[in-house]
């Protein structure tokens, strides 16, 4: 049995079925990300003055990732255009570029996550706070048993509020060095993971969900670039439509990042 309207437009909708399907899917995605963006706005406006972090994310890396996704949107479009003019070699090249750009994006995102997960804040027994990246810990380090030491590369502050706004002149002037703290001096220790505070929770939720979409899109594009491209020999028009549909999803994921970048990195 032949599947109808994979190439020809359906008379009642005016578009082929796969395109209608992907737009319905994207409508549900808008609701998913829309809900999370609403959560972000509510958490942000509900935060007490001076409590919302600033400058916690690396703007340079965020900008590079933005450019990578923008370039991948262009290569996706060029891959589709190459199919339209029946240039299969060019399609292969442009979609390979898309895959490489997407993997680079994920690599940079992983580096950013690693940076946050190895960044620690220690509440000390003397009321001060030690903040910095993990360097090493002694073999007998055990916070529960209060044994051993941990070494961080960072600084010690009197007030926790000094750690909130990293764009402030005080934070910029802070001298970072290796500090070794005994477990007996630590009241509470935690990394900048999702459980650290509201900002890291919504940051990991939004960017994690977005990264999963990038990963899913990359797998689909890889399939169409590799084994799925056999359809080009039997049904090139239908294959071209598949490339367009995957391109629509990819553009949506890129659009989400265009909103995520300023909201998380620049504010």
């Amino acid at each position: 049995m032949e599947i109808p309207y994979t190439v020809q437009n359906r008379p009642d909708t005016g578009i082929y079925n796969a395109k209608l399907g992907v737009w319905l899917f994207l409508a549900s995605e808008v609701m998913l990300f829309g809900g999370l963006f609403s959560a972000y706005v509510l958490l942000r406006v509900g935060a007490a003055p001076g409590d919302w972090p600033h400058g916690w994310l690396n703007v340079t890396l965020g900008t590079v990732n933005t450019l990578l996704l923008a370039l991948s949107a262009i290569t996706t479009l060029l891959a589709w255009a190459a199919c339209k003019v029946r240039e299969f070699g060019k399609f292969k090249f442009f979609h390979a570029c898309t895959i490489l750009l997407a993997l680079t994006f994920l690599g940079i995102k992983s580096y950013e996550y690693h940076d946050k997960l190895t960044h620690y804040e220690a509440q000390l027994t003397n009321g001060k706070f030690a903040d910095g990246h993990f360097v090493k810990e002694s073999k007998d380090f055990n916070l529960a048993k209060k044994t051993g030491t941990i070494t961080l590369h960072g600084h010690i502050v009197e007030d926790r509020k000094e750690l909130v706004d990293l764009r402030s002149p005080v934070a910029k002037a802070a001298k970072h060095e290796e500090i070794t703290i005994a477990a007996t001096d630590i009241k509470k220790l935690g990394n900048y993971g999702p459980a650290h505070n509201t900002f890291t929770a919504i940051y990991f939720t939004l960017t994690g969900l977005h990264a999963l979409h990038i990963l899913g899109g990359t797998l689909v594009i890889f399939y169409l670039w590799g084994p799925g491209s056999r359809m080009w020999k039997t049904d090139p028009e239908r294959f071209t439509n598949r490339i367009e549909v995957s391109g629509l999803f990819w553009h949506f994921v890129d659009l989400v990042w265009i909103f995520l970048f300023p909201v998380l990195y620049l504010t």
Partner: protein
């Protein structure tokens, strides 16, 4: 809506993002970042016009 039309929306929003970033950078005192973002915004507009001319025959639907 075809990929062409969606790409046009993407280009428009990316242009807005570039100029928005430029405003943010100038406000933060990073002149170099600001100028780079303005140049990027202009480049994206030029690309958008080029893209529209190139895919003239492709439908928006």
């Amino acid at each position: 809506m075809s990929l062409k039309a969606f790409h046009l929306i993407f280009v428009t929003l990316f242009t807005a993002l570039s100029f928005g970033c430029a405003a943010w950078a100038f406000q933060s005192g990073s002149v170099l970042w600001g100028v780079t973002a303005v140049v990027a915004g202009i480049f994206v507009i030029i690309y958008g016009v080029y893209f529209l001319k190139k895919l003239k025959s492709v439908s928006y639907l």
